[in-house]
Amino acid sequence: MDIKPVLLLVDDEPRILRSLSMVFKNNYHILTAESAADALRLMKINKVHVILSDQRMPGMTGSELLKKVKANYPETIRLLLTGYSELNAIINSINEGEVFRFISKPWSKSKLIETVGKAAQIAIDLEKDRSHKKTVTSVPVNNVIPNFMVLDKEKNTHDLIKKIVGDKASVFYETTVGEAIDTLSRENVAILISDLKLGEQDITAQISMLKQLNPALVIIVMTEFTDTNTLVDLINHGQIYRFLPKPARKGLLVQSLNSAIKNYRSIIQSSVLAEKMTGDELDSKQKQRVPEKVINKIRSLRKKIKKSAEIA
């Protein structure tokens, strides 16, 4: 085995640090910090593959820390430990911290080991990918404006996005998941802007399925009201890119669309990033919430993708 990946653990409770260190110390090089400030100091002098931080800490919270890590060390994969936390902290760690997974307290050991392992693997792959890229000159793709899809019962959302995008790209408009899948299989759509509810129907689990079907799809969720559990699911299973409250502020939406385009460009340049974007499989309870019709559609589409991959 090559070098051990570096795992930085951050929690204001030293006993948590000790316990987690013991779980990981055989397979990782462990760094620990009892505050966000300490963590940032450690990151200055160490290359960190994965950071696992508690949310509630005196001084700087976990989501604030991850925001700084995302800005200064984007190659470090970010995990947040949450007990009982406020909605805002969760939203911020999605939008500003681009957190990879939320891990709820008390954690399940096997699940934790699996998640940290996944994060570390991605960090290492990305590292290799980057050093590989340095030698091969990368193809400029900067002028590609990808296509959008709006999945929402309210036409206003579509009109607003259309107005922002203009004629530079297509904006498809769908009001059911079934139709959305049809269009996704026909057209080249890169960015999906979706509500969580279509009329009475909750499509949270279906959004996660769409993402698993097409890991490169950049998803922006725009909805009126939601709870922390839904958001945690959307990250852990759906790897959504942004969460915006409705009604959307135009400035925020423009900003999110722009960074979604940038994100899309880096995804198509790196197969590792696309892989990173996949969420965990839905559990059976979540799958039950997806209508049969949609599951069948996804299944046939998956076959199609496989076939085209084989031909290529």
Partner: protein, 405 residues
């Protein structure tokens, strides 16, 4: 409307009309003066009705409501009642109405109104107790969430530690098994190959593989045991304080030391306080007072969480207690954002809140006020914006206490 045309017997008076227009009213009383008095008939009998009648009778429109009618009649009638009232429609005479009938109807409607009123009162009382209940539930929910989070942290590492220890135990078990095998090979009849196999197993076991770590692993185990016990102590302390706080297993009214109530409520509020508030306690020895500790705890918890919410970033809460002149005083002072002067007089009013929707019911302080009042005490507030807020509670040593629900 009442038209008493068929009940002339009840009428005290007769209308005087011309061409449908009402000219006036003449009463039995007036007529009796004419016909029953000595010489009455001779003196007045030839006179025109005009000279005896009342030119300003009580006139009501036919479509007037009973309420308006009775208001008009009671305001304008003369005593003793000698006249009825006249009903008109479009200015034309329609009939007569008896004052007494009207009053009887009014009595009935007052009765009905009373019934509705007492129904409404009952309804209001119900919804008030529902509100008290929902405030209780809201603060209970807040408390449970806080304590759950408090328990979550030790629970997290205790669970993880036990899993770690289990793993270590498996390793040690394997190690011992191999040692056992090795021990058996010390007999003279043991085969060389068995000896070799046992030694190989031991040197390959995960414990020996990292032989340098064996010592540190055992050291870890010691640490982990200590941490686990510490965590379990933390959890039991929280559970104890929850028990003390709710006092489900104790008398509702008891002799208690308010300092105990303060400390208990502080543990319950710990989750709200610990990241942004430095708590400074200046508690003097207090005589025990007779009170309902669960209610007093509720007041303290309310004051502590309010103080924490008033502090935006980092701040301080000072809690003082002392006894003086047969009273016990508790002061809770924060250096938070303070209350605007125009709000200070309203903060004990039910439903008054400046918190966001969903963050407060506006009932907390009004319930606290009621609890302290029912204990024969006083709660007062002083606040300055940008400086902080101070609550002072004064409770009598010997209280005549009213119990609240």
């Amino acid at each position: 409307m009442l038209l008493s045309n068929n009940e002339y017997n009840n009428l005290l008076s007769l209308p005087v009309t011309y061409d449908g227009r009402v000219l006036g009213i003449i009463s039995r009383y007036q007529l009796m003066n004419v016909f029953m008095k000595r010489f009455g008939r001779d003196l007045f009998g030839k006179k025109r009705v005009e000279e005896l009648m009342n030119f300003q009778p009580l006139i009501l429109k036919v479509d007037a409501s009973i309420e308006n009618a009775s208001q008009y009649v009671t305001q304008n009638m003369s005593f003793p009642i000698t006249e009825d009232f006249i009903l008109t429609e479009n200015g034309k005479y329609r009939g007569m109405g008896a004052v007494l009938d009207l009053l009887r109807i009014m009595e009935g409607s007052v009765e009905r109104k009373n019934q509705t009123l007492s129904k409404t009162l009952k309804h209001l009382k119900n919804s008030q107790s529902q509100l008290l209940q929902s405030e209780k539930m809201a603060s209970l929910g807040q408390m449970v969430a806080g304590v759950a989070h408090e328990i979550n942290t030790p629970l997290g590492y205790v669970k993880s530690n036990v899993e770690n220890l289990n793993e270590v135990l498996q390793q040690i078990r394997g190690f011992i098994k191999n040692c056992d095998l090795l021990a058996r090979t010390t007999t003279p009849e043991a085969k060389e190959t068995d000896k070799y196999l046992a030694l190989k197993n031991i040197s390959n076991s995960s414990l020996m593989k990292e032989s340098l770590q064996t010592y540190s692993l055992l050291e870890d185990v010691e640490d982990i045991f200590n941490d686990t016990l510490y965590g379990i102590d933390q959890i039991s302390e929280l559970v104890m304080s929850l028990k003390d706080f709710s006092r489900m297993d104790k008398a509702r009214v008891d002799n208690v030391d308010l300092n105990d109530c303060i400390n208990n409520s502080l543990i319950i509020a710990k989750n709200t306080l610990k990241y942004k508030v430095e708590v400074v306690k200046e508690l003097s020895d207090l005589p025990q007072i007779r009170c309902s500790p669960s209610q007093i705890n509720q007041v303290f918890l309310n004051l502590f969480t309010n103080a924490a919410q008033a502090i935006e970033k980092q701040g301080k809460i000072l809690i003082k207690s002392y006894s003086e002149n047969n009273s016990v005083f508790v002061v809770v002072e924060d250096n938070g954002k303070g209350i605007p002067a125009s709000y200070v007089s309203k903060i004990f009013d039910p439903f008054f809140t400046t918190k966001e929707i969903g963050k407060g019911t506006g009932m907390g302080l009004s319930i606290s006020y009621k609890i302290i009042k029912d204990h024969g005490g006083v709660i007062k507030v002083a606040s300055r914006q940008g400086v902080g807020t101070r609550f002072v509670i004064k409770l009598p040593l010997m209280a005549e206490m009213k119990m609240v629900g």
